[in-house]
């Protein structure tokens, strides 16, 4: 246990980086995910196709491969950003595919009559999506989005492989000196668990608030 308590500052710094990665990537993923979901239900065939290609491509390439390609491959064609920035952008774009699918399932759960009624009232594509369909679909997607948030939190640990010193990398470095993997990684695991159970609690509250009773 000394190995854990004696290195709390280093692990704490790692946890902060994990939190930053998680929050920034989730914000980016939400924006990109809404755009992709919109494209996938849009009336324009080209946009629908583009949205499908985006989702299928990103979901079918492992995140670690994307991260390594972005960190080591992109500089070869002259695109280079910091390691942290690259990690945030890649994780955000990757998770956007999942968020888009969660949102689309939510949109599909709204009865078709709702969209037809909105059109009958003279609302356009954006108007019916914004005022009628999305608000009703949000209630059903809170839990899936929470799961994606938890998945994203866990996925930030892959950034350790491309030089970002987040919680996993910090635990690795501490262990290198202490040679006490069990307390150190159990400690890191507990921190991840606390983070995800916090997210689970928040989504539970949100789901009750946003529930649509019909």
């Amino acid at each position: 246990m000394d190995a854990l308590s004696g290195n709390l500052p280093a692990l704490w710094d790692g946890l902060i980086v994990t939190l930053q990665l998680t929050l920034l990537a989730f914000a980016g993923a939400s924006v990109a995910g809404i755009l992709v979901a919109t494209a996938r239900v849009s009336p324009v065939p080209v946009l629908r196709a583009a949205g499908t290609v985006y989702v299928e491509t990103l979901q079918n390439i492992p995140l670690l491969v994307l991260l390594i390609l972005a960190v080591f491959g992109l500089p070869e064609i002259g695109v280079q950003a910091g390691l942290f920035t690259t990690a945030v952008v890649v994780i955000a774009l990757y998770q956007a595919a999942y968020i888009a699918e969660a949102l689309r399932s939510g949109i599909n759960s709204v009865p078709a009559g709702q969209g037809e009624a909105a059109r009958a009232l003279g609302l356009g594509f954006t108007g019916s999506l914004r005022h009628v369909v999305l608000p009703q679909s949000l209630g059903t997607v809170v839990q899936p989005l929470g799961n994606i948030f938890i998945m994203l939190t866990m996925n930030t640990s892959l950034a350790a492989a491309v030089g970002v010193v987040e919680l996993t990398a910090a635990a690795n470095r501490v262990n290198l000196i202490e040679a006490q993997p069990i307390p150190i990684f159990v400690g890191a695991g507990v921190a991840y668990m606390l983070l995800s159970s916090l997210v689970g609690f928040v989504t539970g509250v949100l789901e009750r608030r946003l529930a649509v009773h019909r």
Partner: protein, 322 residues
């Protein structure tokens, strides 16, 4: 899917354009991600055909007498199993690297593992379990692996968890920079700069010691570190000297600066408290050093990039923790 089509007049031209641009941008992002990347450097393997030479070495390698393997001992279990299970790497050039063509694991650590297997079993039959520095202690203590040959630096902290035979080799960390870099002539010059190191290597604590304000960026493998140095992710790369020399051979952009600044005694990791096995392995180490097999293994691996004859092996039991 809900039908939102059929109302196109309401979707104004500008909105449609905006949506198209956004989607096009995200697609461009995908294309950029999936393109390129072909430069991921191929790890430099040990030059020359070490296969043939080491095969001869195994033929003449010593085998333990039956009296040296008491019934019920760890060695006896390994002999009955007919295979030595070694915790090691598959991606460490010159030390323990899997040859992608033959599938064989080659290098100094790998050859020593085979020599030990030959000594116990009579055949160089080894199964390498890819261990990592965060799992080595656990793999040894729960008996998943018999021994660890993996640039395992002997330290008193680690000696509380595992037993170390050896040291069997002494190495040191050195600094490499991109050719043409000025202002870095010694490790202390790294203070306040961004330095690249292999994840889970002794380089991390060593850099912190000589240059406390250096920012350390770590990558999983040696080729990744070299690539990162070339892409200016850091001004210098700290790694085992022999590895850096090997990298410099295959990559003219790399330049090794100065001499090694640390002394790292590598030990053979064994289960904690197994004194019988420790003595057995130490005796074996002495035998292969006297027979010149240790030197032969060095020449076939590290000796392909480091000039001169094999160094004198470190004295067994000469460092704290061994």
């Amino acid at each position: 899917m809900i039908e939102l089509r059929g109302n196109t007049p309401a979707l104004s031209r500008t909105r449609r354009a905006a949506l198209t641009v956004v989607t096009a941008l995200s697609l461009a992002g995908v294309a950029a991600c999936s393109g390129s990347g072909g430069s991921a450097a191929v790890p430099p393997g040990p030059a020359g055909d070490s296969g043939g030479k080491s095969a001869d070495a195994f033929a003449s390698a010593p085998v333990a007498a039956a009296s040296e393997i008491p019934a019920g001992s760890t060695m006896d279990k390994i002999k009955k199993r007919g295979e030595l299970i070694v915790g090691g790497s598959l991606d460490a050039p010159l030390l323990s690297q899997q040859n992608p063509v033959t599938g064989q694991v080659e290098g100094f650590d790998a050859d020593l593992g085979k020599l030990l297997a030959k000594y116990i079993i009579g055949e160089p039959k080894v199964k390498i379990v890819n261990s990592a520095s965060e799992t080595r202690e656990a793999l040894l203590s729960n008996g998943t692996v018999d021994v660890v040959f993996q640039t395992y630096t002997i330290t008193p902290e680690r000696a509380q968890q595992v037993a170390f035979a050896g040291p069997y080799y002494t190495s040191g960390l050195a600094v490499a920079v991109k050719k043409g870099t000025t202002g870095i002539t010694k490790p202390e010059d790294l203070d306040g700069k961004t330095v690249i190191a292999g994840a889970n290597t002794p380089a991390i604590p060593a850099i912190k010691k000589v240059a406390p304000n250096a920012k350390i960026v770590t990558f999983g493998s040696d080729p990744e570190c070299v690539q990162a140095l070339k892409q200016d992710r850091g001004v210098a790369y700290v790694q085992d000297q022999s590895l850096l020399v090997a990298d410099g051979k295959t990559d003219p952009e790399l330049q090794v600066v100065g001499e090694p600044f640390t002394t790292d005694p590598y030990g053979i990791g064994l289960k904690h408290g197994d004194d019988q096995m420790k003595k057995f392995v130490n005796d074996w180490l002495k035998k292969i050093q006297d027979a010149g097999l240790w030197q032969q293994a060095w020449k076939n691996s590290i000796g392909t990039v480091v000039q001169g004859e094999a160094p004198a092996p470190p004295a067994i039991g000469s460092v704290p923790g061994s």
